[in-house]
């Protein structure tokens, strides 16, 4: 089956991203396809590599990056949500004259059309969040 995944909450405050990660990993392990993982609302915070959790805790951001690299996953941060919440890639850094960029490896910033496309193309869109 082809899944689309939507993550609507930030890391650590909420378990949504953890659950989405374990679901995605389990689906891949069972041979399913993940069309795209789309991060919306505070979910975009899952894509900042400025995250430095304590060493004895899981690294939610790094875990997504590693899964993306391993399975060639498409991890998309919503641009409108990202701009509001300080997620900046190199293009956005130049465009808005910011001091740095913080989008973690494997993630990219794009528009909400990518979410609708995931709804259209996937057999199931699974949403994680309240």
């Amino acid at each position: 089956m082809k899944f689309g995944i939507m993550v609507n909450e930030g890391p650590y405050t909420h378990q949504a991203s953890d659950s989405a990660y374990f679901f995605t990993k389990a689906a891949l392990d069972k041979g399913h396809e993940i069309f795209r993982v789309f991060f919306y609302h505070d979910g975009v915070q899952n894509g900042t590599d400025f995250t430095t959790p304590p060493q004895d805790d899981r690294n939610v951001v790094k875990r997504w990056s590693e899964l993306a690299q391993e399975h060639d996953l498409d991890l998309v941060l919503c641009v409108a949500a990202a701009q509001r919440r300080g997620l900046v890639d190199e293009d956005e850094q130049k465009r808005h004259g910011k001091d740095g960029h913080n989008v973690a490896p494997g993630f990219r910033i794009s528009g909400l059309g990518q979410l609708i496309e995931a709804g259209i193309q996937a057999d199931r869109l699974v949403v994680f969040g309240d």
Binding site: L112, E117, G119
Partner: protein, 138 residues
Amino acid sequence: MSEAGATKKFLYINRKAPYGTIYAWESLEVVLIGAAFEQDVSLLFMDDGVYQLIKGMDTKGIGMKNFSATYSALGDYDVNKIYVDKDALAERGLTLEDLQHLVWEDENEDWAEKDSIRLVSRDEIAGLLEEQDVIFNF
């Protein structure tokens, strides 16, 4: 715009008050972008989400952008199936009269103006959910 050319049924469920959290506004942003994809779109307002459609909203006191007018523009985006949980309205002491009068123009009937809002029971909502291909819950 779908490669397969198929149209899917998309339902956007709105369950939270318009202000206090960003979910109502960011739901609208998805609806507006999604309208360009020419899918079969419905919106459902239930729980505190029914407050999103209240008329006469004034946000000056909280210093936030008032996005009430966006709901009345939905008809222009061919978003004209707007379901409201009638029990959720009643539980909050509200009636249809408290909501904005949302309309759309039917091009098949010489652009006749028609109501977009349909009050539904919880049994009808169960049926509505059953029909959908994609459900967003905000």
